[in-house]
C-alpha cells in the first residue's frame, strides 16, 4: 500500500526540513521525502512513478507535519470507561492530529504493575486508533510510599513514570525514584503540588477566589515543589520532567535550573497559555483544572517560556469527565479539561501571534516529546513510522463540545472560533480524515 502526499509544506525540525515537497509512504513507513528545488520536476516524475498503484493526496496549501505526540493523556481505561476508553481517547487524539499518546497511570487499578501495563498495550493494539505508550506509576497505588516495579513495567513498554494527579510528597521517595529510574534512562514526570499548601483549594488564589468564595491554591504550591524536585534531580542526577507548568514563578525557576545545567524538561498545556482564572466566574466547572487557571501575567510568562525554550513541550493533560460529574457544585466537581481535540488549534494561535514559528511548534508537540521519552517517533525520517498530520493553518472553525469524539465534553473552549486545524491524520500509514 502506497500513499503519495504531494505539494504540502513539510515542516520537520528533526531533519531541519521546512519547505514544499512530497512524501511517499509504503507499508506504513516513510519511504521517501523530497523537498522541491531546481530539479523538482524530475524528482516529481520519479516519485510519482513509484507511487503508482497507490493513493495520491494533494496537500497544496497544507502543512505536512510529523504526527503529534501527547505525553500527558488520561485515557481512563481500565476503571473509568464511562469517562473515556482507549478506543475513544485514541480516536479523539487522531482527530486532534496526534498519532501517539502517553496514558497516565491514574486508572483503576493504577498502572503500577506490568499486568496493567500489558493490558493497556494489548487493548491499544486491538482497539486504539493511534500508538499508545503507557506511563507507569512511580509508587505503588500512587500512594507516594513505596516504589512501583519500574524496571518490569519499563520492559513491558512504559516510557516514563509519574504519580500524576498526586505529588510524591516524600522527598526521600522522590529522590529514590529519580535515582532508580536512571537505570532505565526514563524520565520521572512530576505533578508539582504541595498538597499541604493547596489543601482544599479549587481555583487560583487571589481576589477572584475570595469574591467567589472558593478556596484558592496559591502559585507557590506549584513552585515550591518544582524547586524541591529540581534540587532532588540535581542530587540524584535523575531525569526530571515537570508536568503542566502554570505559573510565572515556575517558568522562572525552571529557566534558572536549565541555566545551571540541571537535567530538567517541562511541559505546559494549551489552557495555561490561552485562558485565565476569569473563566471560573459563574462557577464554571469546565474551567476547573489542576493546577488551576491562573492570571494574565502567568499566561504571558508561559508564552515567554515557550518562546525562549524554558518550556520544552506542549501536552494536553487531556482529562475527560462525565457530564454528570461536572454538573455539580464547583468544589465537588472533578478537575480536568478534555483537551485532545482543541490542543493543536489553540497552540496554532501562538504561531499566528508570532510567539512560536511553525517549526518551533512542531518541536514542542512532536520532536521534543519523542526525545524526552526516547521513542522513535515525532519525525518524518525515511524508515520511520508514517505518522503524519496535515494541517490547514488558516481554516476557521467553531469548537463544538457536543461533537467531540472524546467521551469528555468538558471544555472551557466550547463555542470558540479558532483558526487552524488538522484536516488529515495518518497513523502508521492508516489515513484518518
Amino acid at each position: 500500500m502506497k500513499i503519495l502526499i504531494k505539494n504540502g509544506h513539510i515542516t520537520d525540525p528533526s531533519q531541519g526540513i521546512d519547505g514544499i515537497g512530497d512524501i511517499l509512504i509504503e507499508e506504513g513507513k516513510i519511504k521517501e521525502i523530497k523537498i522541491q528545488d531546481a530539479r523538482y520536476k524530475m524528482q516529481d516524475k520519479k516519485i510519482k512513478n513509484r507511487a503508482s498503484g497507490g493513493d495520491i493526496i494533494d496537500a497544496s496549501g497544507l502543512y505536512v507535519l510529523p504526527g503529534l505526540i501527547d505525553m500527558h493523556t488520561h485515557l481512563r481505561e481500565p476503571g473509568f470507561e464511562y469517562k473515556e476508553t482507549i478506543r475513544t481517547g485514541s480516536m479523539a487524539a487522531v482527530k486532534g492530529g496526534f498519532t501517539t499518546v502517553c496514558a497516565m497511570p491514574n486508572t483503576n487499578p493504577v498502572n503500577d504493575n506490568s499486568s496493567v501495563t500489558d493490558f493497556i498495550i494489548r487493548k491499544a493494539i486491538q482497539e486504539g486508533a493511534c500508538t499508545v505508550y503507557p506511563i507507569g506509576a512511580i509508587t505503588k497505588g500512587q500512594k507516594g510510599e513505596e516504589l512501583a516495579e519500574m524496571g518490569i513495567m519499563y520492559s513491558e513498554g512504559c516510557v516514563a513514570f509519574s504519580d500524576d494527579g498526586t505529588p510524591v510528597m516524600s522527598s526521600l521517595i522522590m529522590r529514590r525514584a529519580l535515582e532508580y529510574s536512571r537505570a532505565f534512562k526514563v524520565p520521572i514526570i512530576s505533578h508539582c503540588e504541595d498538597i499541604g499548601l493547596s489543601e482544599g483549594g479549587v481555583m487560583n488564589e487571589g481576589l477572584l477566589s475570595l469574591t467567589l468564595g472558593l478556596k484558592g491554591i496559591p502559585s507557590e504550591a506549584e513552585e515550591i515543589m518544582i524547586s524541591r524536585d529540581i534540587s532532588l534531580a540535581k542530587l540524584a542526577r535523575g531525569r526530571l520532567h515537570i508536568a503542566h507548568v502554570s505559573t510565572e514563578g515556575s517558568v522562572r525557576i525552571i529557566r534558572d535550573a536549565k541555566e545551571r545545567g540541571i537535567n530538567v524538561t517541562a511541559e505546559t498545556c494549551p489552557h495555561y497559555f490561552s485562558i485565565t482564572e476569569n473563566n471560573v466566574e459563574g462557577y464554571n466547572t469546565n474551567a476547573k483544572v489542576n493546577p488551576p487557571l491562573r492570571t494574565d501575567k502567568d499566561v504571558n510568562a508561559i508564552k515567554q517560556g515557550l518562546k525562549d525554550g524554558t518550556i520544552d513541550v506542549i501536552a494536553t493533560d487531556h482529562a475527560p469527565h462525565h457530564r454528570d460529574e461536572k454538573l455539580r457544585e464547583f468544589d465537588r466537581a472533578p478537575s480536568g479539561i478534555s483537551g485532545l481535540e482543541t490542543a493543536l488549534s489553540l497552540s496554532l494561535r501562538l504561531v499566528h501571534e508570532g510567539v512560536l514559528t511553525m517549526p518551533q511548534l512542531v518541536e514542542k508537540m512532536a520532536v521534543k516529546p519523542a526525545g524526552i521519552l526516547g521513542i522513535n517517533k515525532g519525525t518524518l525520517k525515511i524508515g520511520s513510522d508514517a505518522d503524519i498530520v496535515m494541517v490547514d493553518a488558516n481554516k476557521k472553525f467553531k469548537v463544538e463540545a457536543e461533537r467531540f469524539v472524546s467521551k469528555g465534553r468538558n471544555t472551557p473552549f466550547d463555542g470558540w472560533i479558532l483558526k487552524g486545524m488538522p484536516v488529515m491524520t495518518i497513523c502508521k500509514g492508516k489515513v484518518y480524515e
Binding site: T211, L212, G213, L327, E329
Partner: protein
C-alpha cells in the same frame, strides 16, 4: 421599580437601587410585624421550600416565619431527611422540589455557588440563604436595614467588621453592600483570617483592634468558629479573644453613638464580651427582628419580578 433578576443570589449581583428598594419595602413590612395580626395575604397560594443542606436554626426559622407572614405554604427540607444522603445530585434534588410545585427555593449549602447552579437549572425563584464562604445576602440586607434604622444612613459611616473575614459569607456580603453605599469599611482580625487582597475592593485592613475601632460608627462582630483553632489560623480562642475580642474597654475607642452588631450565634466572652453584647449600644436582637421584615420584602419583590 422592580428587582431585575428572578433570583437573589448575592449582593454582588444587586444594584444599589435594588438594595434601596428592598430596604424601603422592608420598612413597610416592619410596620406589619408591629401589628396585632402579623400576617398579610400577599403570596397566598404560593409555595416556598427551604432547602437546607447545612445545619441552621436562625436563618431557617427567620425565613420560615417570613414566609408564613406572607401566607406562603412552607416546606422545610433538611439534608438529614433528604435523598442527598442517598447520592442524589443537587440539580436532581432541586428539580424534584420544583416538580412538587415550589415557587421559591431558599438554599443553604456548604458549597459556594450552589444556589447559582440550581438557579441555572430551575424556573422557580432561588434565594441564597448562605452558600459556603461566598455570600449571605439577606444577612447583609438586614444589617443595612438595621444601620439605616439606627443611624439614618450608611454613606460616609465608618464600619468595622471584626473576625474571621476569610471564611465569613456574612462579611463578604456586607463588604459588597457597604462599598456600594460609600461607607468606609474596616476589616479587623488576625492576618490569617483577613486576606490582604480584599484591599483591592477599597476596604482598610487592621490587625490592631484598637486602631481599627478608632472613631467607628458601627462594629460588626463575627462569630469565631471554634474549629478554626488548631488549624493554624490562630493558636487558641483565649489568644484570639485577648487580641480581637470586643470588650467594653475597647469599644470606647469607637464613636460614642456607635452600635454593636452580631449575626449570631454568639460565643460570649470570645469574640464579644457579655456587657457589650447586652449593653445599651447593642442592636443584636433588633437584627433578628429586622431579618423577618427584610426576608419578607425580598420574597415579595421577587414574586413581583414574575408578574
Amino acid at each position: 421599580m422592580k428587582l431585575l433578576s428572578k433570583d437573589l443570589l448575592g449582593i454582588k449581583e444587586l444594584t444599589k437601587d435594588e438594595i434601596i428598594l428592598i430596604l424601603d419595602t422592608a420598612s413597610g413590612f416592619k410596620d406589619v410585624l408591629k401589628r396585632d395580626i402579623k400576617k398579610v395575604p400577599a403570596l397566598r397560594g404560593k409555595t416556598a421550600v427551604n432547602l437546607f443542606f447545612e445545619p441552621s436554626t436562625r436563618t431557617r426559622t427567620s425565613f420560615e416565619l417570613a414566609e408564613k407572614r406572607l401566607s406562603l405554604d412552607v416546606l422545610n427540607l433538611s439534608v438529614t431527611t433528604s435523598s442527598v444522603v442517598k447520592g442524589e445530585s443537587l440539580i436532581d434534588t432541586a428539580l424534584n422540589v420544583q416538580a412538587l410545585g415550589a415557587d421559591f427555593m431558599v438554599i443553604r449549602h456548604s458549597s459556594s455557588g450552589a444556589p447559582h447552579l440550581i438557579a441555572k437549572h430551575i424556573n422557580a425563584t432561588v434565594i441564597n440563604g448562605g452558600d459556603g464562604i461566598n455570600e449571605h445576602p439577606t444577612q447583609a440586607l438586614l444589617d443595612a436595614f438595621t444601620i439605616k434604622e439606627k443611624i439614618g444612613r450608611i454613606e460616609g459611616l465608618k464600619i468595622a467588621i471584626v473576625g474571621d473575614i476569610l471564611h465569613s459569607r456574612v462579611a463578604k456580603s456586607n463588604i459588597y453592600l457597604l462599598a456600594k453605599f460609600g461607607a468606609e469599611v474596616r476589616l479587623i482580625g488576625p492576618p490569617t483570617l483577613v486576606p490582604k487582597e480584599l484591599e483591592e475592593l477599597g476596604v482598610r485592613i487592621f490587625h490592631d483592634m484598637d486602631s481599627g475601632l478608632d472613631g467607628v460608627n458601627v462594629v460588626m462582630v463575627l462569630r469565631i468558629q471554634m474549629e478554626r483553632q488548631g488549624k493554624g489560623f490562630f493558636p487558641s480562642t483565649l489568644e484570639y479573644s485577648k487580641n480581637w475580642g470586643l470588650t467594653s474597654e475597647r469599644f470606647r475607642r469607637a464613636d460614642k453613638d456607635a452600635i454593636v452588631m452580631h449575626p449570631g450565634p454568639m460565643n460570649r466572652g470570645v469574640e464579644v464580651a457579655s456587657d457589650v453584647a447586652d449593653g445599651p449600644r447593642s442592636v443584636i436582637l433588633e437584627q433578628v427582628t429586622n431579618g423577618l421584615a427584610v426576608r419578607m420584602a425580598v420574597m415579595y419583590l421577587l414574586a413581583g419580578v414574575r408578574e
